[in-house]
């Protein structure tokens, strides 16, 4: 492009690194891979393989009903409610699936869901700001020197963002949570997992600078590109989470997302689940054997909204990260 060439002609001689000699890297590619593994989601050193069980919350065992796991709700008074940190932190276990073994292909079910979804509450709202209330855990996960014990702090974020990117973000760090009881015991001994005596840290408030946000389209080809389906179901899962974490997705687009996912090879239908906020949902997963991880998407069976998404390791089966989308709305009032 003409403008690009002129820019290079003008700026090129002023490039401070143009003639800089770059030393060979001091760290090998293998070492970087190891470094990534230290905080990565896959850590294959657990001695005890956790079974699919219920969430053990600070010594309280939630009770399952049928094939649906009952998970500790995030509602008022829950152990991980902001301002009331759990005494010792949660031990996380995988969400229980209705179809745990030999799950069917997800395509037909996703298409059926796309055909029947209804309006969400926010489909009748308007406002300048997109509001999202989310809770996130994991990525990064801190791992002990021997690679066996893991901990990460949950955080809760409220985001008000206009379509020009401006707005506010309020983030509160919550209590530590653990992928297994051994990790919890270890980090409690190390004192790192104990909540601060003063309770939950004060929320950090950050004004958001301008940023171009492109509203999601219901056009399948645009969605396929946006969700990066060309890289497979794992990539699509991640980008579905990103999409719902930033945008208030209208009904037509929600249906289109489900249809796009239906055509991505590899998704399996897990049926009814309960998410970590205690909400009923339907789930699909993708097992990425090559990278030893499973992507989980939980949708609202009525509206098709994404309720939560998670990443798990397959061997051993344990939580690597999760995000629960607690609320999404349009509003004129930024927090």
């Amino acid at each position: 492009m003409f403008g690009a060439e002129r820019t290079r002609t003008l700026l090129g001689p002023a490039d401070p690194a143009r003639t800089a000699a770059v030393e060979p890297p001091l760290v090998s590619a293998r070492e970087l891979i190891d470094r990534a593994g230290a905080t990565d989601t896959a850590a294959g050193h657990r001695r005890v393989r956790p079974t699919r069980r219920l969430v053990l919350t600070a010594g309280t065992l939630a009770v399952a009903a049928g094939a649906v796991a009952v998970l500790q709700p995030l509602g008022e008074g829950a152990p991980d409610t902001p301002g009331e940190p759990a005494a010792a932190g949660l031990v996380l276990v995988p969400v229980a699936y209705q179809f745990d073994a030999d799950p069917p292909a997800a395509g037909p079910q996703l298409r059926m869901l796309a055909d029947k979804i209804k309006d969400a509450a926010y489909d009748h709202q308007s406002g300048r700001y997109m509001y999202h209330h989310t809770k996130v855990w994991g990525d990064p996960v801190m791992t002990s020197a021997d690679g066996r014990h893991h901990v990460a702090f949950a955080s809760e974020t409220k985001l008000w963002q206009a379509v020009d990117g401006t707005g506010n973000q309020v983030r509160t760090q919550l209590e530590p949570q653990y992928p297994d009881q051994e990790s919890r015991d270890y980090w409690q001994r190390e004192s790192l997992g104990r909540p601060a005596a003063t309770g939950t840290p004060a929320p950090s408030v950050m004004p958001l600078p301008p940023e171009e946000l492109r509203q999601p389209s219901a056009d399948p080809s645009e969605l396929r590109e946006r969700l990066k389906v060309e890289y497979g179901a794992g990539s699509a899962s991640k980008w579905v989470g990103t999409l719902y974490g930033q945008y208030v997705v209208p009904r037509a687009t929600r249906a289109a997302v489900l249809r796009v996912l239906a055509d991505v090879p590899g998704f399996r239908w897990r049926g009814q689940v309960t998410d970590r906020a205690g909400r009923n949902g339907v789930a699909v997963t993708f097992d990425d054997r090559e990278h030893d991880q499973q992507s989980l998407l939980i949708f609202d069976p009525r509206t098709g909204e994404l309720l939560a998404h998670e990443l798990l390791t397959l061997s051993p089966m344990r939580i690597s990260s999760y995000e629960v989308i607690l609320d999404a709305a349009w509003t004129n009032q930024p927090g």
Binding site: P13, A36, T242
Partner: protein
């Protein structure tokens, strides 16, 4: 851009080693243009490739713009995290005014003028000019780094060049503005 047919190339250690060998110097130079010293640039490059390995299934075949995008987000995150600690030197753009006058820098008046003028622009203007002028990306590649559309990047480039020309013509001695890195909320 059409959807590529077939699975992505195998993203194994050999692929990563080749990527690292091919693109490491480019990422270090990216850091040299924006950071205070070479050590910080090398550390940034290492962090970029750690992220590249963790997100290897997402790395496109034309990887350099994607890697620059990761580097930009890492810098933004570092700057954001240090912003609350005023005693720390913010991770910011390379000190162009210092470079312009340093013994090792080009001493021609033109180069110094360009660098000084560039330093007066806001961060977004500086970044698209650097990406196109120094990293030698196309406008559409720069758009990927900045997370905007190609037409938007073209408009930004046009306006940034105009403001750079104004700065060089009218206000060559203007004090450098505080850098304002655009924070990107997407997690790595």
């Amino acid at each position: 851009m059409g959807v590529r047919v077939g699975p992505p190339k195998k993203r194994d250690e050999d692929w990563f080693t080749s990527l690292y060998a091919t693109e490491y110097a480019h990422i270090v130079r990216y850091g040299l243009r924006r950071l205070i010293d070479g050590d910080a640039a090398a550390e940034l490059a290492q962090d970029v490739f750690v992220v590249a390995w963790r997100r290897r299934v997402e790395v496109p075949d034309r990887s350099l713009p994607w890697l620059y995008g990761v580097a930009r987000r890492l810098l933004a995150n570092q700057w954001r995290s240090r912003r609350a600690a005023p005693d720390l030197l913010p991770i910011t753009n390379v000190d162009l005014a210092r470079l312009a006058g340093s013994p090792g820098a080009d001493t021609t008046v033109g180069v110094a003028d360009v660098r000084t003028a560039l330093a007066t622009l806001n961060e977004l203007d500086q970044e698209i000019l650097r990406l196109v002028g120094w990293e030698e990306l196309t406008v559409s590649e720069a758009a990927k780094v900045l997370g905007c559309t190609g037409p938007t990047a073209a408009v930004r480039l046009h306006r940034a060049r105009r403001r750079l020309a104004d700065a060089m013509a009218d206000r060559p001695a203007q004090t450098r503005r505080s850098p304002v890195l655009v924070t990107i909320r997407e997690d790595l």
